[in-house]
């Protein structure tokens, strides 16, 4: 009796194992009707607008019934998890064997982490990738995306990060245009300290809004403030190269000094929303291009309410290099993704960005997200004219795309900027908030400490 029971249990276990193996085996390839299918998972950014756009594209692609070895490719679009962060969602998916074949929302820093972990494909030598690069005329932009000479990301969009100025505030200071050089900026800050009454009349109480200067957990904000300033002042000198921290010390000091010039007029208290207020209370912020549609909703007019100013350069005529907030697509190379699924994902991306479809796809992207697609012909191609006319702020940003530099190509990027915030911007704030605008305290000791901390964090010389 006992023997019978034991064999019954063994049989049940075998049945369970067989059923689960069958389901697992069918996860990649399914037989629907007479035709076998290759199921390809595509993860979009957590935002609904991106999910809707990619779903439409996937549906259109699925209707083409594209085949690989007689099997039809079916692209399934899902939103990547938003918590704890989209990057952590991808990490979790890779760790648990549930990674998609391809996802968007990958920046250069995260791509470096993925590349160092050998979980993404190098696409630089793929013929289809070269065709896409040619179709989108993105050869120049792509140079800044290389990681150790390879390419792990197909860039989709780019937001040049620059200064966003309050036009009424500038007028109260007697300025008819945003400062372009460090000297002009310093003069504006001195004027800020001297014209507080005039500024108060237009609602401006603070020069700069940046509570995150003291928050190491928001290390990414150092890309947008410090790195943006450094890229312009140093004229695009690298920060990290060949496993060495090569950040120019004097340029870094001058860059932190720019932040120091805001002095005690910096706004560190939280504000609900700066630019949709009737009278924004700050003179300048770092721009947030993803909010352009929101400004339009609130009736804010580019040139009348706010205006973008270039990253500050040392001398007139220097190139206003800035920071590229840019993300793209990566193809995952993990054990749960079969060769067929990878090829299916490639077919889908090829279809979206090939010579025939890329301009239309990028136009749809621009219309849906109001973020600039990574294309060399964005200002010349007539297809984009209508949208750029609708959003003059976008057209202004498009001019700075050629000078936009994406983040560092290192898997230690979060560590580097966390350390920088801890030893440079956060303690420097304590000193700068004791001085009047225009009189930056000496940033030298903070940068010296930052260089050591960054080396330690990045484990480089």
């Amino acid at each position: 009796m006992e023997k019978f029971n034991r064999s019954k249990w063994v049989n049940l276990l075998l049945v369970a194992v067989t059923i689960s193996s069958t389901f697992l085996g069918l996860a990649g390839t399914r037989q629907v009707g007479a035709q076998e299918e290759i199921s390809v998972d595509f993860w979009t950014a957590p935002q609904a607008v991106q999910y809707n756009l990619w779903t439409e594209r996937a549906n259109a692609f699925n209707e083409t019934n594209t085949e690989i070895d007689g099997k039809v490719i079916r692209v399934n679009v899902q939103q990547m998890p938003e918590t704890p962060s989209s990057e952590a969602g991808i990490q979790n998916a890779i760790a648990t064997g549930t990674a998609p074949a391809v996802s968007e929302n990958v920046n250069r820093g995260f791509a470096s982490i993925l590349a160092a972990s050998d979980v993404v494909y190098d696409i630089s030598q793929e013929d289809w990738f070269k065709e896409v690069v040619e179709a989108r005329q993105m050869e120049e932009a792509l140079e800044n995306w290389a990681i150790d000479g390879a390419h792990y990301v197909l860039p989709v969009y780019v937001n040049p990060m620059v200064w966003q100025w309050n036009v009424k505030g500038l007028e109260a200071l007697g300025l008819d245009a945003a400062p372009e050089t460090v000297a002009e900026f310093q003069a504006a800050m001195v004027a800020f300290g001297e014209n507080k009454d005039a500024l108060a009349e237009v609602g401006v109480t603070h020069s700069f809004y940046r509570p995150s200067l003291s928050r190491p957990d928001q290390y990414w904000d150092r890309w947008f403030d410090f790195q943006m300033i450094y890229n312009a002042i140093s004229q695009a000198k690298p920060i990290l190269e060949d496993n060495q921290l090569v950040m120019d010390k004097q340029d870094a000091i001058d860059s932190l000094n720019v932040i120091g010039m805001f002095g005690n007029s910096v706004q560190l208290g939280e504000l609900a929303s700066v630019w949709i207020e009737d009278n924004p209370s700050v003179l300048v912020t770092i721009n947030a291009p993803w909010e352009i549609t929101l400004y339009e909703e609130y009736g804010k007019v580019y040139g009348e309410d706010f205006v973008y100013g270039p990253a500050l350069v040392r001398e007139e005529g220097d190139t206003p290099y800035n920071y590229a907030d840019s993300k793209g697509l990566s193809f995952y190379k993990t054990s749960n993704i079969s060769e067929e699924q990878h090829l299916g994902a490639v077919e889908f991306v090829k279809w979206v960005f090939n010579a025939e479809n890329s301009a239309q796809s990028d136009l749809e992207w621009l219309e849906a997200t109001a973020m600039l697609p990574v294309r060399g012909d964005i200002n010349e191609n007539e297809l984009f004219n209508d949208v750029l006319e609708q959003y003059p702020a976008l057209a202004a940003l498009a001019d700075w795309v050629p000078y936009s530099i994406p983040g560092l190509a290192t898997d230690k990027d979060p560590d580097i900027w966390t350390a920088f915030t801890e030893v440079a911007t956060a303690p420097y704030l304590n000193e700068m908030t004791n001085v009047e605008p225009g009189n930056a305290p000496d940033a030298t000791p903070y940068i010296e400490a930052a260089i050591e901390a960054m080396k330690q964090a990045a484990e480089v010389e």
Binding site: P84, S85, E87, A88, Q91, N92, I94, A95, I113, L114, A116, S117, D118, V119, P211, S214, R215, P216, D217, Q218, Y219, Q267, L268, G269, E270, L271, A272, S281, D411, P414, D415, T418, E422, A426, P427
Partner: protein
Amino acid sequence: MTQRKSSNKRHNTVGWILNSPYLIYTIIFFLLPLGWALVLSMMDWNLMSPDQTFVGLQNFTDLFKDARVQAAFINSYRYLIPIVLLCFTFGLIIAILVSKLPNKIKGFVAVLFFIPYLTSGVATSVVVKYFFNYNSIFNIFLRETFGLNINWLTDERYAFWVMVGIVAWKMSGYYALFILSGLENIDGDIHEAAALDGSQGLHKLFHITIPMLMPTLTTVLVLATGLAFGIFTEPFLLTGGGPNMSTTTWQLEIYNASFTRFDSGYGAAMAIANAIQIFVTLRIINYFTDKLNKKFGY
């Protein structure tokens, strides 16, 4: 004899079967992750790379040199003292006040005090963020009436106390329910006898009520200690652990190491160090509360 053995065996089997759901749950959701965390803590691994480098105890030795870990270690005690005191005091006050209410509304009022506990930490943090916003009515009032311009969440002197205030507000009502239940269990005869002996007001509170509540208060103390070591949502959403790491916690640092810097092995080592600190602290607290309970005859 043989029959008895067989009956015991049958009872044992039934016991194992009845306990199996909990045992399986414990193995899957407690023992396996704990074992996995121990293994992970000895690796330099980001959970993604095929290279899983075994580093022995290096992650643990690195903890001693890490300023963030030091801050989390110290902050856990900085949080512990005011949170336990405030939760304890407000819990006791709320419970005593509610216990004096007529039976008809007692339950309803007790539930009202329980609501903050049910409110999500995220929702509370969002409300607090708006409340301490530079342009909030509260801050405008402070500026215009007293000339006070306070950056509540970015100034080291205030941010920590904002965190403490939120946690104490959220949890006091919850602990009050424990204390209220303890109060209701004190026999009316004891209060009567105390009154006959002339014990009233604060004298009765300190010499009758609190000693009678000792087992309940011990539970509250242990729970509040655990709470103080587990703070995450409030600093995560409001301060990020800053300014100058003054509000950081173990949970926040574990999160940042594991999911922001993708240093999962180091994050696991932090989690184990945190568990050891909680265990040791609770043992010390238990030692003293046991002595106190013995003193009062429990």
